[in-house]
Structure formats: C-alpha cells, structure tokens
Subunit: 222 residues, 2 copies
C-alpha cells in the first residue's frame, strides 16, 4: 500500500519516519516543493531522510493508495479543494488533523463552524463524498501516534470513526503496525463522531498547559 | 459546613446520600417543594431519606455555606437569576453541571453560546461575580463523583478549576472526603478552563454509546 502524507511539519515527519521504517512506499505532499526543501526545519529532517519522496499536493495524492491528512486544520479544506477529485476518489483518507484556532492565543479554541454540531472530519467527508474518510490518532501527541509503547506498555486509548467499515479495517491494520493493540482502539461509529474526538483538544491543550508535557494520553478505566 | 444542593434529580440524590452519610447539614433546593415531593422518582428516594431537608431554591441557597449546582445545564442560569444575590455572595459554588442540549437527540451537543469560547462555569461566574465558582466532577457519571473507589482503586482523573485558590482548597477537602486522592485531581487554573472539561461531554456521551456503560472514567497515563 502506497501512502501519501499531506503536510511536511513535525507530525508529518514523525509519521514518515515510522512508515518508511515499516517499508511503506511513501510521498510527502506540500504546496511548493522548492520552498519546503529550503525551509530549515524541513531541510534538516530531509537531510537525514533523503530516501523519502516529496511532491506537490497533487502528485502526492495521485501517488498514494491511502492519504494521510497531516495538514493544519485551518489549511485542510482549501488544500483538498485544489487536488483533482479523481486522485482522492475511492481511496482511504486518514484524517489526523484538528480544527485548531490559535488566533486568540493559547489554549486554542476550535475553528468557528467546525465544532459542536460539525467537525473537520465531517467537512472533509462532505467535500469528498467518494473518499473513505477515517478519523483517528488526533487525540494525542504525534510521538505516541506511531509509538504507543512509549507509555504505559502501550495501554491507552485511540479512537477511530468513519462511515465505511472496510476502510476502518484497513486503517486498523496500519494502527496495529504502529503498535496499537485492538483492545485500545475504540470504534465510535460514523464520521460524525469526530465531533467528540476533535473537541478533546479543548481539554488536551489545557492538560498540556497544566502539566508542561505533551507525552501523555488518556486511558479509559472501568 | 452546611451544604445546599440545587436540583433534585439522580445526581443531586447521589450527592445528598453521600454528604448526609458524611455528616454534612444538608438542604436540597427545588422550584416547588410540593411538586417535587409528589414526583414519583423523587418521592421514592425521599421515603428512604426523610432526614434530608428540602426547600425551594431561595431557602436552600440561604441555608448553605457552600452551594452545589446539580441542576441541568439549560436550567442553571435562569434558576440562579431568581435567587437573591445576597444568598450566594461570598459563598463557594461547586458547579458540576454541563450545558447539554438534547434537542437534536443523542448524543447531545453543547448549548449554543456556552461552548468553545465560553462555558457554563464562566457564565455562572459572570452572573455571580461575588460567588466563588469552582468547576469539578462534571466529567463523569455521578456514581463515581462521590465514590471514586468504585473503579481502578480510585485512580482516575478529576479536574478542578476556578478563579479563587482558597475556594478550590475548600472544595479539594470535600473531594478528599468523597475518596478522591490529591494526585488524581488536576487543577487546570481559572474558571475559563471549564471550556475544556465541559467539552469532554461530546466524547463522553459517544464512549457511553459505544460501550453501553457509564461506569467509566479517564485516567491520564504518562
């Protein structure tokens, strides 16, 4: 399965490192390849990871059988609108982004119109009705997304939601490859449940502020 | 310390049972005492707990040194507006309510205007600037609020926030009396952090739907 990652920031880099190690053919997608290669925070990383391909958004989407949205929430919809729909149709899109609005400072709020009765996950699904959007991994620091074993023997919670069961099954296999155990992945149902997982950022960012660390996750205890 | 509980539903009854057992002088507050005493779900409980006083909202507020808001979120502000401010001034108000809107079915959303960039906790504090509002216990099922030992040896998370540190210290002592260990109570800071804890209901209700049980809570694992 060829994977495209939309985005070139820390989250995208973290995912790329692990997916590359796991042997997945990979391409990172960005707005302007030349600009990105000249951005120091990316160039330093790419120097150490020269085998990882980078293309523009359209090239990356065309390359991937599975697309990971690791863009910032506020940029996601405008980027997806510029990609030819045919490059995204009938593919699985793993949406790990959150609709964060930092315009009022920290902690952020969620982007107006994309919370409470709507969500970024749903907005992507509405924009791309023939793509199988699966929301997962968006409730934690990226270091834990791809390496749950970092804390508590890997026992902490990850949520998954999406309208298509077979797409969720395919994503589940990728999560397993990251080290996620099935008993720690809770299927909440259809993509509207992204309202629940995205809203947790309003608490996550406050726990981060109170504890001065992002290397935590939640566990459901019964 | 005399405690008034605003509300007579399941949450209020659960709190009253434990506070009564712990020896706190107690009064439940309701809109119309006679109506409440004739409501079967309350009458059955009161039959078993006849020593627990019930008064109207005004009487209860005047009685309590500490007021617990166990009203439904949508009723809270209108009830508080009808209570003479002098009965609430300089008192601690423990707000355990959530601004849930069930008008579109289950899972609920949050009440318009009381989420993301605002919260019920903040709205109460704005309405009652001379009352010390402390938000806590609103992220879990009421059975766990007063008996955290029910699951995982009591090791799961409760948040507290509010503008006044000494008020939070007083509430902390009450939480300790319920069985909450200090290491499981995370102080998020001022009352604006109620935005974080109230928003978790968007996820809590979905976990409840997916797992068919409310007898769970979250733990922060590191």
């Amino acid at each position: 399965m060829k994977i495209a990652i939309l985005g070139t920031g820390t989250v995208a880099q973290t995912l790329a490192n692990v997916l590359s190690t796991l042997g997945y053919p990979l391409m990172l997608g960005t707005r302007q390849v030349t600009d990105t290669l000249h951005r120091k925070s990316f160039a330093d990383w790419h120097q150490q990871n020269q085998s990882i391909n980078i293309g523009n958004f359209e090239e990356a989407a065309a390359f991937g059988d599975c697309i990971i949205n690791a863009l910032q929430g506020h940029a996601t919809l405008s980027v997806l609108k510029q990609i030819p729909k045919a490059s995204l149709d009938h593919k699985v899109m793993i949406d790990i982004a959150n609709p964060l609005d930092f315009s009022h400072g920290f902690p952020p709020c969620l982007i107006e119109g994309l919370h409470n009765t709507h969500s970024l996950g749903e907005a992507i699904q509405q924009l791309l009705p023939d793509t199988f959007v699966v929301k997962t991994l968006n409730t934690m620091w990226c270091g834990l997304m791809v390496n749950p074993q970092l804390i508590n023997d890997g026992n902490h919670i990850n949520y998954i939601c999406g309208n298509d069961d077979s797409a969720k099954q395919r994503v589940l296999k990728l999560l397993n490859a990251f080290g996620w155990k099935n008993e720690n992945i809770l299927d909440l149902g259809d993509i509207s449940n992204a309202r629940g997982t995205e809203s947790t950022l309003l608490l996550w960012t406050r726990i981060y502020a109170a504890t001065k660390s992002g290397a935590f996750n939640m566990n459901i205890v019964k």
